[in-house]
């Protein structure tokens, strides 16, 4: 770790570090998410690789100063390519006692601690049960510790910008940002520009924030806080964009619409952490994207189904509780064999659970959460930017095989940001579809006359003369699609529905794996554990141990070579943020034993924890 290695100095006399993990923590009202976001943006533009992890309470603004109200944002930036937002911060910015109390335990020994001393008054200390003031009782001895009277400084600094006291104090997060920007040599310009744009209608608010930002920067300089630098990372050349998972997912859906020349229709009902996809898509009407905020999730799915029947890419986005409600409609789409994309941004369950925390516990629900024999494909994103790929892939499968597809992401990917190398449009797959336009049996049109290869049925959309047909959820005769209660036909249709999904294995990329030769242990992952597993693998290799890893992006069907890959290794380790759901699928599918590493804490794995667990398995 950089803290250990004797740091170099760069030209400007700043100590060089290869990586830093900063956590901003304060009241829900303190604007920590925005502060972290701005610092991240500045670092991105500066050229670091980075990963972020916002962590905030389910309440909008729990009462000021309480533990329940603490909101935090962690950013990891480095001069090399990194995979996670970092396990523990080496810098903690705490805007009040609650923030300190909630997050100090994570700060690395000897780490840098910056607090807003103005917030450490009797009442606030009491609120979180500090008997003595930690700033003065010596309990912070183990850290490099700076107290800054941020509130006072801010009020001072913004005088003249003509904002009232309340607004003035609100700018203190910018002061904190200014301090950190100075310490890590980040330019202020991007933030200044952003503030001017954002508050163009309220210039005095803009001025106040800018003044505070600059004051913080100046303070850092005059107070001679230690100054560091983290060089730009050497990333593959190209255009980069900082993107969150939900944003990438929304872009992927738009891209799928453009590449298929089909309009995109989103039926959705707001729910954390999926709402931002609805928000993002409703901003791009010039792409012909229709977004409807439905009365509930059932309606949202129903609307998407109706749109799919009509020739649109019908999409519905939600989280666990909403997925429960959509099950029946998904079953109908499956029975009507309509292309539809269901996006589930997983969060902590069961029930309302932990709405703002992350989890991977909807896999088996996605797989089996419908009555009857109702198989459908499942695609999973594994990093914020991979959500772009996942959206296109899910749509591709839906359109090609005429089936609803479930896309699994999670809260960690949804809100986490990372630099994304913007793909070349030419490189995107062509998703053009051919609607049925002619009768396919003499003068008749049979909606269930299947394609020999894909077993997909033809898609004839309203407006097409002569192809009028009616579909529903009652069992249909293969071919004609007429209602049929025939016993053998039901068996046939059940077999066909299953065979169609199984056939998709021919159409998807094989499971890639990265193995040291002689490695006997394979870490098999899926979804958002990708980064943590990757970081753990690096550490394990850094210790000279042999290891292999593979990451599933298709959960149903599995890539065709999955069993072959698994059988190459003696031990299959499956880390999941659930109680072992992928492992259940692997075991029943291949009868291969697995060693499970499960964590259900609403938080992503720490690379360090994974490293240790896996080392035990390798050695033990």
């Amino acid at each position: 770790m950089s803290q250990q290695a004797p740091p170099q100095e760069d030209a400007t006399g700043r100590k060089e570090l290869d990586r830093v993990v900063i956590r901003f923590a304060g009241d829900s009202g303190d604007g920590m998410q925005l502060t972290g976001d701005r610092f991240t943006s500045a670092s991105a533009i500066f050229g670091n690789d980075l990963a972020t992890f916002p962590d905030y309470p389910a309440e909008i603004r729990a009462p000021a100063g309480t533990l329940a109200g603490v909101s935090a944002f962690q950013v990891h930036f480095a001069d090399f390519d990194i995979l996670t937002p970092g396990d523990q911060p080496n810098v903690l910015v705490a805007m009040n006692p609650a923030a300190l109390k909630a997050h100090l335990k994570d700060l690395l020994p000897g780490g840098l601690l910056i607090v807003n001393s103005d917030a450490f008054d009797e009442r606030n200390l009491e609120k979180v049960g500090y008997s003595a003031n930690p700033l003065t009782d010596g309990s912070l001895a183990g850290y490099q510790f700076f107290e800054i009277p941020m509130t006072k400084l801010t009020v001072e600094a913004v005088k003249g910008s003509g904002v009232n006291k309340k607004e003035a104090e609100r700018s203190k997060n910018m002061l904190a940002l200014g301090v950190i920007c100075w310490m890590y040599g980040r330019p202020l310009e991007p933030t200044v520009a952003w503030l001017e744009k954002k508050f163009s209608k309220k210039p005095n608010i803009a001025d106040a924030n800018i003044a505070a930002l600059k004051a913080g920067h100046a303070f850092g300089e005059t107070a001679e806080l230690s100054a560091y630098s983290v060089k730009p990372a050497v990333l593959a050349p190209g255009n980069y964009k900082r993107i969150t998972g939900n944003q990438a997912l929304a872009y992927g859906l738009i891209a799928a619409s453009v590449q298929s020349k089909l309009p995109l229709f989103l039926g959705s009902y707001p729910i954390t952490p999926a709402s931002d996809i609805l928000h993002e898509l409703s901003r791009h009407k010039n792409f012909g994207v229709r977004t409807v905020q439905a009365e509930d999730e059932i309606a949202a799915a129903g609307m998407a189904l109706g749109a799919s029947f009509s020739g649109h890419i019908g999409v519905t986005t939600t989280s666990g509780p909403g997925l429960d409600l959509k099950s029946e409609t998904i079953g109908l789409a499956l029975s009507m064999e309509l292309p539809m994309v269901i996006v589930d941004i997983q969060r902590g369950g069961p029930s309302t659970g932990l709405p703002t925390k992350t989890e991977q516990s909807d896999l088996l629900h996605a797989m089996y959460g419908r009555h009857g024999e109702a198989p459908l494909p499942i695609v999973a994103s594994y990093s914020p930017s991979s959500c772009f790929w996942a959206a296109i892939e899910a749509t591709r499968i839906a359109l090609k095989f005429m089936t609803p597809v479930i896309l699994l992401s999670d809260g960690y990917l949804a809100n986490g940001a990372e630099p994304w190398r913007i793909p070349a449009i030419e490189k995107l797959p062509d998703l053009t579809v051919k609607f049925a336009s002619q009768p396919n049996v003499g003068d008749d049109f049979w909606p269930y006359l299947r394609d020999d290869d894909t077993l997909a049925r033809p898609w004839a959309i309203p407006g097409t003369p002569g192809l009028q047909h009616r579909l529903g959820g009652l069992e249909k005769a293969d071919g004609t699609g007429n209602i049929s209660y025939d016993a053998d036909n039901h068996q046939l249709m059940t077999d066909l529905r299953q065979a169609k999904i199984k056939a998709i294995e021919e159409d998807i990329a094989p499971l890639e794996f990265d193995a040291d030769d002689g490695a006997t242990v394979l870490i098999l992952g899926w979804g958002s554990t990708y980064g943590a597993i990757g970081a753990a693998v690096r550490r394990i290799r850094a210790r000279g141990k042999k290891i292999a890893r593979a990451h599933l992006r298709h959960l149903n069907p599995f890539p065709k070579n999955t069993e072959e890959v698994l059988r190459r290794f003696d031990k299959i380790v499956v880390p999941e943020m659930n109680m072992g759901q992928l492992s259940k699928l692997v075991r029943s599918e291949f009868l291969i034993p697995t060693i499970n590493i499960n964590q259900v804490k609403g938080l992503p794995f720490r690379a360090g924890d994974l490293e240790n667990r896996v080392l035990e398995i390798i050695d033990g």
Binding site: A44, I45, G47, P232, L235, P237, G238, Y240, K241, R242, Y251, I254, A255, V258, L262, P263, F265, G267, H284, K285, N286, F287, G288, V289, R290, V292, A294, E295, D296, I298, A299, G302, M303, A304, G306, A307, S308, F309, S310, G311, H312, G314, G331, L332, I422, P423, I425, F435, P462, G463, T464, P465, G466, L467, Q468, R470, L471, G472, G473, I483
Partner: protein, 359 residues
């Protein structure tokens, strides 16, 4: 890119065989709307009469079959789409208005009709119904009200009368029923009507009016289930009742009824509709019906003249007003967006925001 994006869907495929074929220009007949599917209602079911009326009216509308989509839920009534030679979705229980909203907002070029039952539409599907009406989605919603669950073999429904003995209420139902017209009006519906399965003339006329209405049209159709609730509407269909109890609402006309129009409806000072003898009050004191009144209070008051079809009951169009149509609003926003921001450009979209270049 809105247009290029949406249009092709319709055109590509329609070009092939020429829109005219079976299209608006070709005149269609009743038979053109009859599908090849075997009709599976009980002999004597009121649904047959309704289907006949619908298939009779469709050709008049000048809408090609392929531009029509019939959407339903689950129930005897909801089998309806199978029997129409148009595009159709036999959905899941109660969700037809939601599914149809998807069709209508995705494809404003289509004529979208919903068939639902009193259980499908008002019990499990009540929420989707009131929201579709509130949004004024361009849907024509036909609710076959037989005051019973037919397909599941005779349980009471939200429109069954209190005290009704059914399989699930052997000691009589305890639930105060909905008045479908009242709830539709309470849900801001822009077009609300009521008619009767056996109404050879009235039913088709109401259908025509609904088709002409821009936005969502809600039609309650009293329908006899001769297996599980036979005679529920006898007060309106029986010999004497027929003339005595059917109150036909006609726009701009004083509301009178009875064999010799001896009865009428008057509005009291407190805004309640009461039935009077024309002779007693004089024709000029009678309430003159106004379908187009912006304020739904009149229509609502009329809906309270009869809580159930057991006595004098208003039939016809309670309300027919213009409101912005939901789907059209969306189209406008799409058009405006591509006019102001230019048609969507994927390359540009990806390249904007927090971007930087690494060489």
């Amino acid at each position: 890119m809105v247009e290029p994006n949406r249009e092709p869907i319709v055109d590509d495929v329609t070009q092939d065989r020429g829109v005219t074929e079976g299209g608006a220009t070709a005149t269609l007949t009743r038979e053109d709307f009859v599908s090849d599917q075997e009709v599976r209602w009980c002999p004597g079911c009121g649904d047959y009469a309704i289907m006949a009326a619908v298939q009779g009216v469709m050709p008049e509308l000048g809408i090609p079959r392929e531009k029509m989509v019939w959407v339903s839920g689950i129930g005897c009534s909801s089998r309806f789409p199978y029997y129409m030679n148009t595009y159709g979705i036999h959905g899941i229980h109660g969700r037809a208005p939601a599914i149809a909203t998807g069709v209508a907002t995705a494809r404003p070029d289509l004529s979208v009709w919903v068939v639902t039952g009193d259980g499908d539409g008002l019990s499990i599907g009540g929420n989707h119904l009131i929201h579709a009406l509130r949004r004024n989605v361009n849907l024509k919603i036909l609710m076959f009200n037989n005051q019973i669950y037919g397909l599941t073999k005779g349980q009471y429904s939200p429109t069954s009368e209190i005290g009704k003995v059914t399989k699930s209420t052997p000691f009589g139902s305890l639930e105060h029923p909905f008045n479908p017209v009242s709830i539709a009006l309470g849900a801001e519906a822009s077009f609300v009507a009521r008619t009767l399965d056996v109404e050879r003339k009235h039913l088709p006329e109401v259908l025509r009016r609904a088709a002409a209405h821009q936005g969502s049209a809600f039609i309650e159709i009293y329908q006899n289930c001769n297996i599980f609730n036979d005679g529920a509407f006898i007060a309106l269909t029986g010999k004497e009742g027929r003339s005595a109890n059917r109150i036909y609402l006609e726009h701009g006309k004083p509301i009178v009824f009875g064999a010799n129009h001896e009865k009428g409806v008057r509005m009291t000072q407190e805004g309640r509709c009461e039935i009077v003898n024309v002779a007693d009050v004089g024709e000029d004191k009678l309430l003159v019906h106004d379908e187009h009144r912006d304020d739904p209070s009149l229509a609502f008051a009329l809906s309270r003249v009869a809580d159930g079809p057991t006595g004098p009951t208003p039939l016809g169009i309670f309300r027919d007003v213009q409101r912005p149509v939901y789907g059209e609003g969306i189209e406008q926003q799409l058009r405006r967006a591509s006019e102001s921001q230019g048609p969507g450009d994927l390359e540009k979209l990806l390249a904007t925001g927090d971007t930087w270049t690494v060489n």
